[in-house]
């Protein structure tokens, strides 16, 4: 039997096309889409892109050794394109998930936003639209470039991304104004979420808090022991790359550079992912009353989400030592997390279908 707690109260907090429902569904969809994009990017683009960067560096150092300035310029044009390709995809992934988190957050604080129901619905729709257009704009930057742009360095895709970012800021500012109204009047705009002390909520809350704490400690460890060392090592490697008398030495230096880039990338990815997943677990603890699944399935998705949340960052960090095996396990962890997220989304969609059809459970 599918379960939801306190049907009448929960129904009133999740009305058809309400701001909260838009934000919950849109938020989870954005997070899931952002993660799926990240997984596809990691499997099909990231490693190939890193290989391309290494090859370009070796070719550039060989051109330097040969005193061929024109070739250096040509190689750097392609290297810049590779870096932009990678950077915009990482940014699209990060911003799509970030916008999803913010949408879930706004869903939580809706009772404290004292604005009209219609205004809140419009704000929710604008937020989801902005959260969708921002990563699309970022993704397109590499492909659109400066085509037909009236500006020297900003293309139309950047303009789209910046406009969508501005839209998110405006929505957030109006929501903050609504919260200010609550502080003044102390009148809730709508019912708060019901008290729910279910197993899923407790596990997601405590698990999420621990993940965030782990992420903070990992970040502190990286900043203390590796950040400055990595910055110094980069300068040393570039000098070695260009002072190299032979092709073999420059190839070694280029390999060192690639290894350094990988060390930095995995440390930053592990740090940011473990914190993001902790935050996601905490946010999802709030929507558990809306997940219309049997208790066993709710527990399975909860455990799968937490398992994926720890497997991905741990094995991303181990990628430098264990290589592609760790990378594969990390991608599997990401996939587990995405499946769990889709499982919960299906549960919420089932709930809304049941609610709109006039069901009580």
């Amino acid at each position: 039997m599918a379960t939801v707690a306190e049907p009448s109260l929960i129904h009133s907090t999740f009305a058809r096309m309400s701001a909260r429902r838009l934000l919950v569904l849109g938020g989870i969809a954005l997070v899931a889409a952002g993660m799926l994009f990240g997984d596809v990017f990691a499997v099909f683009i990231l490693h190939q892109n890193a290989g391309g960067q290494g090859a370009a560096l070796i070719a550039a150092s060989q051109a330097v050794a040969a005193g061929d300035e024109a070739t250096v310029t040509r190689i750097f044009a392609s290297l810049g394109s590779l870096l932009e390709d990678r950077g915009t995809k990482v940014d699209a992934h990060v911003h799509m998930i970030g916008a999803g988190y913010l949408a879930l957050l706004l869903a939580l604080v809706q009772p404290f936003i004292v604005l009209g129901a219609r205004t809140k619905k419009i704000l929710a729709a604008l937020f989801i639209a902005g959260g969708t257009l921002l990563p699309i704009g970022i993704f397109l930057i590499h492909y659109v470039g400066l085509t037909y742009s009236p500006f020297a360095v900003i293309g139309w895709a950047s303009i789209l991304a910046d406009s969508a970012g501005a839209l998110l800021i405006i929505v957030f500012a109006v929501e903050a104004w609504g919260f200010r109204c609550y502080i003044r009047t102390r009148q809730l705009a709508e019912p708060t979420l019901p008290e729910d002390n279910s197993w899923e909520r407790r596990i997601l809350l405590s698990g999420g808090t621990l993940l965030i704490l782990l992420g903070f400690l990992h970040g502190a460890w990286y900043a203390a022991f590796h950040l400055y060392e990595h910055e110094d090592r980069e300068e040393t490697i570039i000098k070695a790359l260009l002072d190299s008398p032979t092709t073999a030495v420059s190839a070694n230096a280029a390999n060192d550079y690639g290894r350094l880039a990988a060390e930095k990338a995995v440390a930053i990815a592990a740090h940011s992912h473990i914190i993001e997943f902790g935050l996601l677990a905490m946010l999802l603890s709030f929507v558990q009353p809306y997940v219309f699944l049997t208790p066993n399935w709710k527990r399975r998705w909860t455990m799968a989400l937490l398992a994926g949340s720890i497997v991905l960052p741990v094995f991303v960090q181990l990628e430098v030592k264990l290589g592609l095996i760790a990378g594969g396990i990390a991608d599997g962890g990401g996939l587990l997390l995405i499946v769990a997220l889709f499982g919960m989304l299906v549960g919420i969609l089932r709930y809304t279908g049941n609610l709109d059809a006039g069901g009580t459970r």
């Binding site: 330097v64 939580l108 404290f112 910046d162 500012a173 903050a176 919260f179 400690l217 946010l283 709030f286």
Partner: protein, 164 residues
């Protein structure tokens, strides 16, 4: 809503808006230029090495290293402000479940707000004073404040509930 919750939600919203405004300003007025300078100086260093102009090569390489130092910290500050703000907002909604007295919760919320504001700020300020020990110490202290606050919150969640 308790005082500690108000502090976290108001502080979190303000910090999120500030972080986003900083990001928008950065994306429109700074990022493209700094990326151009970073890529340009690295390319120039290679071209100068090809010309065997080692003195100018060193200068271009230093420009690249310095620009990258700034870029990494500016982007980090933007993402940390918004990330920490989101965490404050989530915690604000459920802070009553942190099983301490309200005065203790207020102290934890204030620590989190101060740490979350000052930590990225001290990182940004390092771009104006490379390697300044005082700013590095401020970053360590403020991030430590956030970690201690978060550990206290985890402990508060784990403690048996004495009130319903």
């Amino acid at each position: 809503m308790t005082g500690s919750q108000r502090l976290l939600i108001f502080g979190g919203m303000a910090l999120a808006v500030f972080g986003m405004l900083y990001g928008l300003h950065y994306a429109v007025f700074v990022e493209h230029q700094i990326l151009d300078r970073m890529g340009g100086s690295l390319e120039q260093s290679f071209e100068l090495a090809a010309r065997r102009n080692w003195e100018a090569f060193e200068t271009a390489l230093v420009t690249y290293v310095d620009t990258k130092y700034d870029y990494v910290r500016q982007v980090d500050a933007h993402s940390h402000w918004i990330g920490l703000a989101m965490l404050m907002l989530v915690l604000g909604v459920l802070f009553e479940r942190v099983n301490f007295s309200e005065s203790m919760r207020q102290a934890i919320a204030l620590s989190l707000l101060v740490g979350s504001t000052v930590f990225p700020l001290s990182v940004i300020l390092q771009t104006y004073h490379h390697g300044a020990m005082a700013l590095q110490a401020l970053a360590v202290a403020s991030s430590g404040l956030v970690i201690v606050a978060m550990a206290a919150i985890a402990w508060g969640f784990a403690r048996p509930r004495t009130t319903e």
